[in-house]
Symmetry: C3
Amino acid sequence: MLIYVVDLLGVAVFAATGALAAGRKSLDFLGVLVIAAVTAIGGGTIRDLLLDRHPVFWIADPTYLVVILAATAMTLFYVRFYRPPEKALLVADALGLALFTISGARIAEDFHLGGIIEVFMGTVTGAAGGVLRDVLSADIPIILRSGEIYATAALAGAVVYVLLQRIGVDSTVSVLAGMGVTAGLRLAAIRWGLTLPVVRLSDRKGDLSG
Amino acid sequence: MLIYVVDLLGVAVFAATGALAAGRKSLDFLGVLVIAAVTAIGGGTIRDLLLDRHPVFWIADPTYLVVILAATAMTLFYVRFYRPPEKALLVADALGLALFTISGARIAEDFHLGGIIEVFMGTVTGAAGGVLRDVLSADIPIILRSGEIYATAALAGAVVYVLLQRIGVDSTVSVLAGMGVTAGLRLAAIRWGLTLPVVRLSDRKGDLSG
Amino acid sequence: MLIYVVDLLGVAVFAATGALAAGRKSLDFLGVLVIAAVTAIGGGTIRDLLLDRHPVFWIADPTYLVVILAATAMTLFYVRFYRPPEKALLVADALGLALFTISGARIAEDFHLGGIIEVFMGTVTGAAGGVLRDVLSADIPIILRSGEIYATAALAGAVVYVLLQRIGVDSTVSVLAGMGVTAGLRLAAIRWGLTLPVVRLSDRKGDLSG
């Protein structure tokens, strides 16, 4: 029960950050709602499709869609009168990322597909919603922006969780450690402006795409 | 049989509008064909994948692909000599949107997943093809352009259809009412230049996406 | 066994070209890795999802992900010191395209869905990875760039393969002929700068998308 409430809270936070991100563009309500929904459930949906896990989580339980609708409406109502509570939302977003990443890795665990797939599915669950949001907005996706520590934080937390599980650490401890690494890395990156080094090719003639 | 023919006509119309939309870019024939196909069957494909409805409708019956090929070739041939019949195509596109939306909602009905999912799948079936087309063309998707009443028309028609079905209205009446709302809203929006109000955030500092 | 090794080589080559293509943008390592992975396994993943073929090939065998990781790291290491071996990579990419296209068509064959779907799945397996890569990079996808003979080469090889199989030609001959057509067309296009004629609409007022 607690897990379910926390999960819905995570969806609400992601929907709210999605709705705020949509504020860069001039959208109508449906447009904002689509961006909010894609941000909130996009990662989990890709995970479920890849794992052939049906019904997809929000189809099995449409409460998720209701929560997204409510969170989007409340966000738009709130920012009409007040400044968005930036710091609180950044912290909430980091916690949502941590929550989704580890829950995604745990879901993959049930399929017994090995540690690499678990790490992969955790990272996708946490970070892919933001990628879909950016693709729809015709932006460069967040994980492709130079040095932004976002998907990397998800990846690191998922690796820690999977490794701890493999060596037999208690499940609750693994979950908390994995979430701590993801949330901690993301918050540290925001707090101290940390970025990853950018790859520079010595010669871009190697581009074969055109 | 009639339903099948109408369905293929809807695919042909969507393919034609997709091919015309592709005319903004300088594409070769295969590029135009890809855009036409994505516009015509993209929404239904996403619906089938989300619902785990296999084989996907156009895999089960490749006639859809043949119709797309023919419609694209005919469109390109036609516009080489004549101006596209703009008004007829806008009306046909609105009817196609109405048809796909309600048929999408009806397909979801068979899965007994509740009204919210039915509305969602109807809207996706009708409007997602246009979103995919725009994402592939690196455009801002149609449903995210300010105030355009397109997906909103699909959504409204799907809601009307699902509500009428819920209160026990005859199926044929529900279908016609739902399609009427979608097509009517879309055509009214084109005819009188109606748009939805655009959401403006009081403070775009709330953007957490970067 | 030989087929498996060749398949992994194809993935490695596609990952390398994806990593080099990512060099146009300033990305961190994870960003380059995502682009490399999407290029290498995106087409096959879409094929498996559409065919409901689970587990998806790289979930069934995570060796693919390990190969992508190694190929990306080696590519980035290599281009730090040397110019990318452009010609060798262009040839390798053409061979990879041929290999993936025909293997995709062969996989679809097992589902007995008819020649059109086999051609479609072959083309998607070969060319869709490049499309996803470009969508993520917010570029105009390769198959939509004017006249580039890439997906067209895949399509032509898949058609040849499927036709030869239909008329009862020996399987090995069909495979080699199909791959020869795809690789030959692609290499000829590169070598002599061949492009396809671009479609021009007489009147772009026909655009219904807005």
